[in-house]
């Protein structure tokens, strides 16, 4: 578990938390659509809730939401927003998904948005997906998204790496600098191909109901993959 380096990850996200919050105001439509399809009686878990941009709409629509995040600073940011909006049906938990502290078969729905790709090491990523599966009720549903390796911005980087066989890290691994608000902080990413994403979901024993390519910023090639999965 050392390679996953939990606390390094926490320090990174704490350092960029404020800046991240400023630049991540708008929820993604794919997440809003998913939330709107849930029942008002549902208990939802937002694994890696970040600044709460999807947790808050989920809390407004569903019965109860638990929001987990590795960053104490991001949790504080979400807590302030909940207090401001007087939203009471949420519990925030400072934790990480690989060591998920949620009981088995306890939630109706889970969101795991743009976070799987921040976990280093395939075994750890698959374990995190298995943890989502364990937490879901038998008829539960989850929305999982990752960044694409072949999006316009990083396409050349990975084509070169692939062609010249550069580096000894796992193919798809890349440190991406956070450069907003005068910061310059590397964040670990493992960017996915669609095929690899499908394989990891299957290896975690999750049934893919739907998988979509999306272009949130990219012009030419998809930058995100969204999967709706069940047990």
């Amino acid at each position: 578990m050392n390679s996953y380096n939990l606390l390094k990850s926490e320090k990174t996200w704490n350092a960029i938390a404020k800046s991240f919050d400023i630049t991540r105001k708008k929820p993604w439509n794919q997440c809003i659509d998913f939330i709107n399809d849930l029942s008002k009686e549902d208990i939802v878990a937002d694994f890696a809730c970040g600044n709460g941009r999807h947790l808050i709409p989920a809390a407004k629509h569903c019965k109860y939401v638990i929001g987990l995040d590795i960053s104490g600073k991001l949790i504080e940011i979400v807590q302030k927003k909940l207090n401001n909006e007087k939203i009471r049906n949420v519990t925030l938990i400072h934790s990480d998904i690989v060591n998920n502290p949620t009981e088995s078969e306890s939630v109706d729905a889970a969101m795991y948005i743009a976070a799987l790709h921040n976990i280093q090491g395939r075994i750890n990523r698959i374990n995190s997906l298995k943890e989502i599966r364990r937490t879901l009720k038998n008829d539960g549903v989850a929305l999982i998204s990752v960044w694409s390796r072949w999006q316009d911005k990083y396409r050349m980087h990975f084509l070169k790496k692939w062609f010249f066989q550069i580096g000894n890290s796992e193919f798809g691994d890349i440190d991406i600098l956070w450069r907003q608000h005068g910061l310059n902080i590397p964040r670990f990413y493992h960017l996915y191909s669609k095929k690899e994403f499908q394989k990891d979901l299957k290896d975690a024993n999750l049934k893919i109901i739907e998988i979509n390519n999306t272009k949130l910023i990219s012009k030419k090639h998809p930058d995100n993959y969204f999967a709706i999965v069940k047990k």
Binding site: M1, N2, N5, L6, L7, K8, E10, E41, I43, K63, Y64, I66, I70, G72, I75, Q79, R88, N89, T91, L92, I93, H94, S95, D96, N99, N100, P101, T102, E103, S104, S106, V107, D108
Partner: protein, 69 residues
């Protein structure tokens, strides 16, 4: 889900991040239906996890040690 009625009830669906066993709670401060300060104790491995400002910290203890080494 009937068992989740208040903020306090949500602790029922939490477990130890390390061994996944049930947690016991020691409440130090509560307001309305919410636990503000307290300790969650794993019934099996006896690890302690703090609740501060209403937020349980359930990061595993083992990882912290790994990082410090």
């Amino acid at each position: 889900m009937e068992r989740i009625k208040t903020k306090k009830d949500i602790l029922e669906i939490l477990c130890c991040p390390t061994c996944k066993s049930d947690l016991e709670i020691e409440i130090k401060k509560e307001e309305k239906d919410e636990i503000i300060t307290g300790i969650l104790i794993c019934k099996k491995c006896k690890n302690n996890y703090k609740i501060e400002y209403g937020i349980p910290n359930l990061l595993p203890k083992k990882e912290k040690n790994d990082f410090n080494q």
